[in-house]
Subunit: 363 residues, 2 copies
């Protein structure tokens, strides 16, 4: 049994126009069932963490939606950030709040917007990581790469230190170019960094104090006021002063250099559902290879002589195609996207340009 | 000066989902300006026919829309068919009504949903046809073919009979296959049948009486009651009994065999705007070859790395494309179509299948 922390942030711009700043990726049912990615993330914990031991850290804009989607979670376990301060502040706040309750608790941090094909296998991997955490290591769960992906960061690992599956992480690697990614894939020593962490809260907070003393002092001050009359006052004063930095960059890279990070390689069908092409790869398609998200809704779709489509009929309109292939069609009430699957990554550019144009209502 | 008759029927199924049974092609501004095809058809008449000499024959569902679009036309010149009886009944009714007013009037019948690039050239051709009509011929305006089109019927012509441009029409030809169409194009004797007719109403009605006596008797009876208290009664009783047949098949083919049909070849940028690909060919495109119909409306379109598209943003939504080419994207409030330009003809099949499914609201 561990504490689970789910940072629920990020808007998933490559899933525009379905995913929006106001209704981001993790709130959408991109799971092949009615569950949202966030709900699936909590369900996946199963016996790893009780609702009382499960925390979500999210922004003010999404607090109510999170509360309604996760009706089984205690209210006080939904930590609402006054403003986005990146992942280190979010995770550190949760760690500090948990540490007030249980100073040597083991906590795992898991993104709210990923899919996992084999939840039981994932839980087993996390349990192995928890054993490393109990021994004082900052654990990551690395994904055994199955292709030379250039869109992910990598963990470079050393020789296993014992009989178990644990391996030291010697270095965090940025997203590689294609050649380097091929080399990583062949090396057998590189894992995808899926931003899953497992550690004792006291160990993490000590490492945070060493590398990011201001951030540490801030979250400890906030946690001390948590649940008291002072909470809003302290949070509102201290939070905006915290450094805006990712936990990888702020803590994990330095900890790896200091020999304090290890990993358990996992192979449980992890997917970050980063774009519509990926979504089409992960979710079940019809015999023509067309993946229709939420295709049961009326009036639905009419796909004639069309194959390998990713279709999201997300407005109450008929989506009709004739003679098109390998295409993404995302239909929402105020915006429509048509794009080849091979260009799925470029959807982010539309969002960037719409922002530049000041079309804030559309992004 | 002639009488002009504009049969305004047909729903333009290959222009679905823009064109619908309830709001058919001729009511839409597919002209590159704010004018609908119907309005452009009337404007094109110019000095050929006054509003008082211009008649529209349309169905009950479209009478009010026609009346509003053509505010300059006398009310009584909009003839409303109680039910669709194909083109022969529509044109014959107008001919019979005109004949009551002016028994030897020359009338021209022109479709409500075609585009013409050179209206002055077209008017000149119609004037030449009118001279043939005055001599007692049933005149057609044939279009000099510019490619081997398989989607049109053809007029087979004989040797010119005098010094003028008139040629006898020896036979009406159905839509040919590709090989036959190539032969027609090479022959120099075949013209596209654009269903434009010019004749004296007495000559047409006599030929109708010879070939379709029941239809003739019916429209003469209706015309006799036209504008009297009896009009609704007679129209309601007689109209449903009229044969449902096209004027080509009912009258013109037999008249050609009898040597009573002639034509004037025309070359005035005629286009039947039959499908979205054609629309993209006819209307002006941007430098990337993208034709956006009504593209000034907000929020408009966002076409990145996209070429040779036909985009109809006909709902108040952003249409965004990335990396697509030669594609049709038609966005309406209740249905979306995505289709390669090369498959533009197959849009009709969607409409047929939707009808079969009973999705009458969508067609």
């Amino acid at each position: 049994m561990i504490y689970a922390v789910i940072p629920a942030g990020g808007s998933g711009t490559r899933l525009w126009p379905l995913s929006r700043a106001g209704h981001p990726k993790f709130l959408h049912p991109l799971t092949g069932s009615a569950a949202s990615l966030l709900q699936a993330t909590v369900e996946r914990l199963g016996s790893l963490a009780t609702p009382e031991h499960t925390f979500v850290v999210t922004g003010t804009a999404h607090a109510t939606a999170v509360a309604r989607q996760l009706a089984g979670l205690p209210e006080e376990n939904i930590l609402v950030e006054p403003s986005p301060r990146d992942s280190c502040a979010a995770i550190a706040l949760a760690a500090a709040v948990i540490a007030r309750r249980d100073p040597t608790a083991v906590m795992g941090s898991f993104a709210a917007d990923h899919l996992i094909g084999d939840p039981a296998g994932w839980r087993e991997t996390v349990r192995q990581a928890a054993r490393g955490a109990e021994q004082g290591l900052l654990m990551t769960v690395g994904i055994t790469p199955t292709w030379a992906e250039t869109g992910y960061g990598y963990l470079e690992t050393g020789e296993p230190t014992g009989d178990g599956p644990l391996r030291p992480v010697t270095e965090f690697k940025e997203k590689p170019d294609a050649e380097v990614a091929e080399a990583y894939l062949r090396s057998g020593r590189h894992l995808w960094n899926a931003s899953m962490f497992v550690w004792r809260v006291d160990v993490f907070l000590a490492e945070l104090a060493r590398q990011q003393p201001a951030l540490h002092a801030g979250v400890v001050a906030i946690a001390a006021a948590w649940g008291t009359e002072e909470q809003d006052e302290v949070l509102g004063t201290v939070w905006p002063t915290l450094p805006k930095i990712s936990v990888d960059y702020a803590v994990m890279e330095g900890a790896a250099t200091a020999g304090r990070v290890a990993t358990v390689p996992g192979d449980f069908g992890w997917n970050d559902v980063g774009d519509f092409h990926t979504l089409g790869e992960v979710l079940p398609a019809d015999p023509a290879g067309n993946m229709v998200l939420g295709g049961d809704a009326k009036p639905g779709v009419f796909l004639r002589d069309s194959t390998n489509l990713v279709v999201v009929p997300h407005s109450a309109r008929l989506v009709a195609t004739v003679g098109v292939h390998d295409l993404i069609v995302v239909d929402t009430p105020d915006a429509l996207l048509v794009c080849p699957r091979a260009r799925a990554q470029d959807v982010k550019q539309i969002v960037d340009e719409l922002k530049e144009r000041g079309e804030v209502g559309l992004v």
